[in-house]
């Protein structure tokens, strides 16, 4: 018998009903549940959300909730290497992406937490093996060397490190492009303001469009 209302954990033990060729598991998988771990991440509590808003607004030092200071430094360096500050805009460090991941991990299940702690120790091991230093202390060339290896099979990651790169990148992309820096400084998103009218493509008004070059 099928019943809606089970939490994901219960679903795994459910007999999965096929719906027009899609199993429930298939539907879950399509969502990344249990795949990247993201769909199983908790929402932040109100307090957590407010705390993060404050973290982003201020230049205050991190208040770690889950990661150790060493793990935080490595993760911060990793996120910054994925989305760095450049001439165009500040990067993941300024957007406090590592703080955001720490906050989420503090409200995550053990499985998700383990994914990250294991991944970070893999990165640490590789970094010390090759350069006798923690990841956070590597120079730009060394960082690039390691990331190039870790991202080799980004579409279909094989090794633990490759999978961890993808997990970290997903989280970094989310954290960065939902931050004030990502939305406004990097992308220059124009929405969420009161406007007398939605403009659209100028060709709609019978003029050549400066944005896309289409003629009326």
């Amino acid at each position: 018998m099928w019943r809606i209302g089970y939490v994901p954990e219960d679903l795994r033990e459910q007999e999965l009903v096929s719906v027009g060729g899609v199993t429930r598991r298939g539907a879950l998988k399509a969502l990344g549940a249990g795949v990247g771990g993201f769909a199983l991440w908790p929402y932040l509590s109100d307090e957590g959300a407010r705390a993060f808003a404050r973290i982003q607004q201020s230049q205050a030092p991190p208040t770690l909730r889950f990661l150790t200071p060493a793990q935080y430094k490595d993760l911060d360096a990793l996120a910054e290497a994925i989305i760095p500050a450049d001439r165009h805009s500040p990067g993941a460090r300024a957007a406090r992406v590592a703080d955001y991941i720490d906050l989420l991990l503090s409200e995550s299940d053990e499985e998700t937490q383990a994914t990250w702690t294991d991944g970070l120790s893999e990165v640490d091991r590789l970094s010390r093996e090759r350069f006798q230093a923690s990841f956070a202390l590597l120079n730009a060339a060394q960082t690039t060397e390691l990331l190039t290896e870790m991202s080799k099979h980004e579409r279909d990651p094989q090794s633990g490190l490759e999978k961890f790169f993808k997990t970290t990148k997903e989280a970094t992309v989310r954290g960065y492009y939902t931050s004030e820096i990502g939305i406004h400084k990097e992308l220059g998103y124009k929405g969420n303001q009161h406007l007398p009218e939605f403009v659209g493509c100028k060709t709609v008004d019978g003029e050549p469009c400066p944005h896309c070059g289409q003629k009326p």
Partner: protein, 590 residues
Amino acid sequence: MEETRKLASSIHPGSGAWDVIIVGSGAAGGMAAFQLATAGVKVLLLEAGRMIDGQKEYRTMEWPYASLRRGRLPEGERPIAVAEYNMYDRPYGNHPEFAPYKKLMSYAGSTFTRNWVVNEKEHPTTGTPFAWVRARILGGKTNFWGRGALRYGPLEFKAASHDGYDVDWPISYEDVKPYYDRVDELLGCSGTKEGLMQVPDGIFQRPSKLNCVEVHFKRAIAKLDRHYIPGRAGVTTDGVLSKYRARCMGRGRCGRGCDLNASFHSPTALIYPARDSGHLTVRPQSIVSEVLFDEATNKAAGVRVIDGVSRDVMDFKARVVILGAGALESTRILLNSRSRRYPNGLGNSSGVLGCYLSEHLMGIGGSGYIPIRKGTAPTLDDGRPVAPYVPRFRNLTDRHPRFIRGYHFQGGGGCAEYPAMAHEIEGFGSAFKEQVREWYPAPISLGGFGEVLPRKENRVLLDPEVKDAWGIPVLRFDYRFGDNEMKMVEDMAEQIEEMLTVAGAENIQVRREPLPPGWSIHEIGTARMGEDPKTSVTDKFCRLHDVSNVYLADAAPFVSGGTQNTTWSILAMCWRTMDFLKEEMKRGDI
């Protein structure tokens, strides 16, 4: 909640006298209340959930960096249902992987609309899976609906005459057209006149223009003889006469509830004005378990209510009962209204109550990037209530060899708050950032809505054992997509791929898997209308054949639903039904 409790406890049997009881406060209940109360009829409106103050609860303009929930809601908060729904709210749900689920995500797995939908653990269903979205709150799902305001046309009302399948509606487009017109004028509808027979024009306010990638797509698919037109939205863009509503200000983010009330939401558009007439009483926390039946007169006597807070059971009496709880919920109430005379449920002497459940099949769609916007400066592309749409193009004048009826595609593109394409771009570093910026204005994505054929065997029954948290039997679903739908799915996938190809889109991705049943939230039928009481539940004025003082105001009487979103038809049909009821009351027939 406090206000809700006070209000509920102040209203009890004997605290007033009402001519009409309305169950539900969404599009159907709201319109019924508005039509009757403003005509001086004493109305008691029963809402199963709490009151809502949109000014406080709609968080329309909150930036994501001020609200960072993802995945699961905190303990004690309610996402919508099982894990599939338990998803990121916009903009997090814009990852291409999640695109097909966006609608529900932005509805109910969302930070912005949390605790508006029922807790599925208290409201289980049994049988085949069905994603049944229920919002027990004043205004119901209109607080976060998708705003698609499309009319059924001759092709829907006379579908059987067109292709020989099933039966026509007992009424025609001409019967309903004046009511669609009135709904457009009362509530405001944004759109463009196109002169298309498959989706009749309305009385439109300023449309949502197409942005650059969409203009390109429109011109491309015109070569295939396909239209791509501004979406039609139940949103006032030029304003309407109402002290509760302001016009659209192009902010986007409409699915969280519009705090300007430019979008149609039942409380501000219908219920508050109805209450201002002095003839409407709203009682929240009122869970209706059954319609009371008087054997002596063969009429409904009122309804039985379980108070959602105190759990007190009380019977409210009235001359007329109108069910507008949503097609499936209204049918559930009728099935549960068992008497000696109607042991299988009130209005079910035909045995077809619960049968012919229909909706729209979703999940098939495609996405890609339109090269002309590659590397251009960002523009505002999403500050509007609705994306454009490709009206139905199958089985209009020709006959498709593999399936009957049709489907449409909705969707658009351009710059959005969250750059979903970033998840598709490989690499890291400045080069990665740059590539995200380059592609940011270029994506386009469309999703299909296909008609599910009304079939007698697609039905709901009361579960003989399982009850909800209030002891009311839950619905058991027996509902599956059939052969016609599956053939249609193949064609939908082929056609969206072809359209994106013709548009020169890069990196085309096509989703070919349907989403689970119920995903469209466009459920119709289960108490279908017809001339013959042996094969239908209501007459053409949505009144039960069996009992002359019970009306259905929602989509339960609908015979078939084409590809169009349902809400505008619920509003128009309900207005028509209320006009009929008012005439009956004037004549003293009821």
